[in-house]
Symmetry: C2
Subunit: 363 residues, 2 copies
């Protein structure tokens, strides 16, 4: 156990999970209490698994105050498959979807949507290396758009929306993979929310989709069944065998979050954690934050040093010090500290101390 806690995992996802959850999974791994078999073995049609699924859904509904006219779906394929499912289900012939190009993952979503139908890039900060979010006045929205797609937190570039963009009457679709349930979310202002679980919600292997019922009705019968929101909604996420273990683990993380005090409580912790780290980055200029100050993410803190050699040295020494996964995404370089819900505050303190010492010896 001590080995686990000595290494601090700053990876962008799959990422650190609450140790209490890991210990509960471990305890019950061979035999679920009252069931007599492992969660890895139970039929998805069994009462035992139906309970697991129902509880995970209920926890999500409780945490985010999900209105009753929204479905909560547990799917597979990650956000990457949603990049295709969203337009396949929601972008009818003759219609246009607006996409806000605010980061590398938004760019991927756009590329996939263009394979399906007409896309208008409502604004893009690609020319500024996605170092900031497009401003409201920059958005060129299409009247009557099928939907507007945004990315709530840009994992690679370290930016995060603090307030939702105004999109008029258009359905707002948001990829919330990297900040889902790190703070309160107003589900009512969204038409569809999707998130791969492997950052704040659980292990890799399950994708959560929260979708308003009128959007589910857009799914055409000609769609492949597995790519149809309507099929999954009608079958309560049991059209085929779901990723049972990942749903179970996600449910435990949701319970952990509820016990902590829910989204307002975790938001406070996340604000405090990020503030400590950004304060250190801004202290002397030895470190340089890469994201526009107002758009800084509380989940993925990106920064650079004066030279690439110094950055390599930083990665090397931090890894040796038990601070793992600080190397930035291969597409942008630099450093990235991913500090999701389950990342412990003492890990932030250790990183800040390390940064201070690194600056002293290399500054």
């Amino acid at each position: 156990m001590t080995i686990t806690r000595r290494i601090h995992n700053f990876a962008a996802g799959p990422a650190v999970l609450p140790v209490q959850v890991l210990e509960e999974i471990q305890r019950d791994l061979v035999s679920l209490p009252g069931v007599g078999m492992s969660i890895l073995e139970v039929s998805h049609r069994s009462a035992a698994f139906e309970k697991v699924l129902a509880e995970a859904e209920q926890s999500i509904r409780t945490l985010a105050d999900v209105p009753s006219n929204y479905k909560v779906l547990f799917l597979q394929g990650g956000a990457s498959l949603q990049f295709s499912m969203v337009p396949m289900n929601l972008l009818g012939a003759g219609a246009t979807a607006d996409y806000i190009d605010c980061g590398s993952w938004a760019d991927k979503a756009i590329k996939e949507a263009k394979k399906v139908g007409a896309v208008n890039v409502a604004a893009s900060t690609n020319g500024e290396n996605y170092s900031r979010l497009p401003r409201q006045e920059e958005l060129k929205l299409t009247p009557g758009a099928a939907y507007v797609h945004m990315t709530s937190n840009n994992t690679i570039e370290g930016t995060e929306y603090k307030t939702l963009p105004a999109v008029g009457d258009a359905p707002l679709v948001s990829d919330t993979s990297s900040d889902m349930f790190s703070k309160p979310i107003d589900v009512r202002r969204h038409a569809l929310i999707y998130a791969g679980a492997q950052k704040n919600m659980g292990p890799a292997g399950v994708t959560v989709v929260i979708v308003r019922e009128d959007l589910v009705a857009r799914s055409q019968k000609s769609l492949p069944a597995m790519l149809s929101y309507a099929v999954h909604a009608e079958n309560g996420s049991l059209y085929n065998t779901p990723p049972a273990f990942a749903v179970y683990a996600l449910g435990l993380v949701m319970t952990w979050l509820i016990r902590l005090g829910g989204l307002p409580a975790i938001a406070k912790v996340n604000e405090r954690k990020a503030a400590k780290l950004y304060a250190e980055i801004d202290r002397t200029g030895f470190y340089r934050g890469t994201a526009n100050n107002n758009d800084r993410s509380l989940m993925n803190v990106t920064f650079r040093l004066a030279t690439e050699d110094l950055e390599k040295q930083f990665v090397k020494e931090s890894t040796a010090a038990g601070l793992d996964g600080l190397k930035g995404h291969r597409s942008v370089g630099g450093m990235r500290a991913s500090i999701y819900n389950a990342f412990p505050e003492e890990g932030i303190d250790e990183l800040v101390s390390f940064m201070r010492e690194f600056e002293r010896t290399h500054g």
Copy 2:
């Protein structure tokens, strides 16, 4: 631990896993040896996970003697998503795919393929409730077919191919979800093999695809990236975040299988287990096997009793006796004992004893 082993899990999938594997997962759940974090937390870009992925692939290659011109892919979405991916990737415009309609899952595969392109049902035993497999001479194959699709084992109806159908030069595509690695498989006679893991290979959440390289080349660039075999092959199953835990657990099951002596060894065990059960079914006529004798599955043993009331009683008493999951699929009724690789032989003996006693008291 004893609780787990007291209940025998005859579920059709997710299904029983080797207890040694469950115990290894449990032991290392909080901290993978030498890594210092849980398999649920490690980045899919880390050396630790790359090793897990490479070892799982190598074990599959070793077990099935997979030739070097075949790719081994770890995907999501189960066989159900393959029902769409196969035609989306392999069934070009103007071409026809032949499907052998030998069971309920084959029927689903056909329905999905028809959404994509031209399908010829080469033979069907639907009119006989899929109680037997189509015979070779019944197959009406299309000259120059894009591929021929078969289902190697029909989980619901309890039939299983003992020898592969002859399909000439057409690429043979097989859904092997429910008998993959329960016996030797001649990969060279297939062009593409796919299997959801949750019966013989591991927990739910990962799908194994073994595909010959010339078929991968058919994937069009216009396909959604997540649905393209070419994209997954080019990226070594790491185009996006894979279901890391399920791949890890599958790898452990493959290692368990290699240690047991591989596919010839497990085939002998499976033959012995199924023979015991079929012998009891055939002993007096109190039980009645539903599958044609020559086509009987070694994985899913289906049988009925004289009346539905008696069947209900059988399910009730067997469940109470710790023999779980014997109720047949809701679409066909009756009884089904799924006895995959990890199902222990003593569980067969217990079921046979139970059946004998049930016949004595209700016969």
